[in-house]
């Protein structure tokens, strides 16, 4: 299958989710979600592929060494993961008090389920090529390094948390955004390749568990 056709499909699906978000949540929330997701995805992929030893390389369709299908794929998967979590918990994001941690955890688990088949296909069709060797080499599954499975969950959970904190103007939103941005250079979310990165990730999880409220008051 042509990577250009796949890119077009992903773009079409992403446009559909944007229209859904506009209708359900309005312009501000839609811009916040997809703007944040696209900027995060672009910075992340640019950083990864500019490394001396990137843990994947863009395949048959790339722009500045970045696979655009991955940049568009992150927001699509973030949105569907949050949709799954909302529907399973029957949560309205506009609710006065929102239970944020169950939502983020379920979105993280949904991210894993969503990303798995796409990753298997993408790597087999050569849209991107995984490179062996990193700090946590746990083995391979259907052509994928096993540790990326945890990476999708962490990335999805952290992103949904960042979005919800901004959506509700929570005082901790900037701290969480710095943690999300800071995780990019350390590869902590997908392919940890340094003990510093792993240490920072452990510190983030501990801090989030201690400081974030179980419910979030809408301002």
């Amino acid at each position: 299958m042509s990577p250009a056709l796949a890119l077009g499909l992903v773009g079409l699906l992403l446009a559909g989710q944007t229209a859904h978000s506009m209708q359900q949540r309005g312009r501000r929330s839609t811009l916040l979600f997809f703007g944040l997701a696209l900027v995060y995805a672009l910075l992340r992929e640019l950083w990864i592929t500019s490394r001396e030893r990137p843990f994947y390389v863009a395949g048959s369709l790339s722009v500045a060494n970045v696979a655009p299908i991955i940049v568009l794929g992150w927001p699509l998967h973030f949105y569907l993961a949050l949709w799954f979590a909302r529907r399973l918990l029957k949560v309205d994001l506009g609710r006065e008090r929102l239970r944020i941690l169950p939502l983020a955890l379920l979105a993280a688990a949904s991210m894993l389920v969503l990303a798995l088949p796409g990753e298997v296909i993408g790597s087999h069709l050569g849209w991107w090529i995984w490179q062996p060797g990193n700090l946590l080499d746990l083995g391979w599954y259907h052509g994928l390094p096993l540790n990326v499975l945890g990476g999708w969950m962490l990335t999805g959970g952290m992103f949904v948390l960042a979005f919800l904190l901004f959506e509700h103007r929570h005082p901790l939103r900037w701290v969480n955004l710095v943690a999300l941005a800071g995780s990019i250079p350390f590869h902590t979310l997908a392919h940890p390749d340094s003990w510093i990165g792993l240490g920072l990730l452990a510190a983030y999880i501990t801090a989030a568990a201690w400081s974030l409220p179980r419910s979030l008051a809408k301002v």
Binding site: L13, Q17, L80, R87, L114, L116, G118
Partner: protein, 85 residues
């Protein structure tokens, strides 16, 4: 008669329009619209399930990879079950 009881009796925003005007139809028909619009993520997920399965079997010739699509199908089924419950 208040709007909520009227809505539950008629069950159709269009019928309300005749008696209460455009402001009422806006208020009452929005829940129906939202329910309908949830069709976009549902259709997207159904498409992804069919697309992934087709590529795995027809293009990659790896039917054993279908096991990777199964959790997605189960998750969507769970959402449908929760919606109807």
């Amino acid at each position: 008669m208040d709007l909520a009881s009227l809505s539950s009796r008629v069950g159709d925003g269009t019928a309300i329009l005749c008696t209460h005007g455009p402001l009422t139809i806006e208020t009452l028909s929005r829940p129906n619209q939202k329910a309908g619009w949830d069709g976009i993520p549902r259709a997207t997920l159904l498409f992804l399930i069919v697309f992934y399965s087709t590529v795995m079997v027809a293009l990659l010739r790896r039917p054993e990879y279908l096991v990777d699509v199964l959790p997605l199908a189960l998750l969507l089924a769970l959402v449908e079950w929760r919606r109807r419950a």
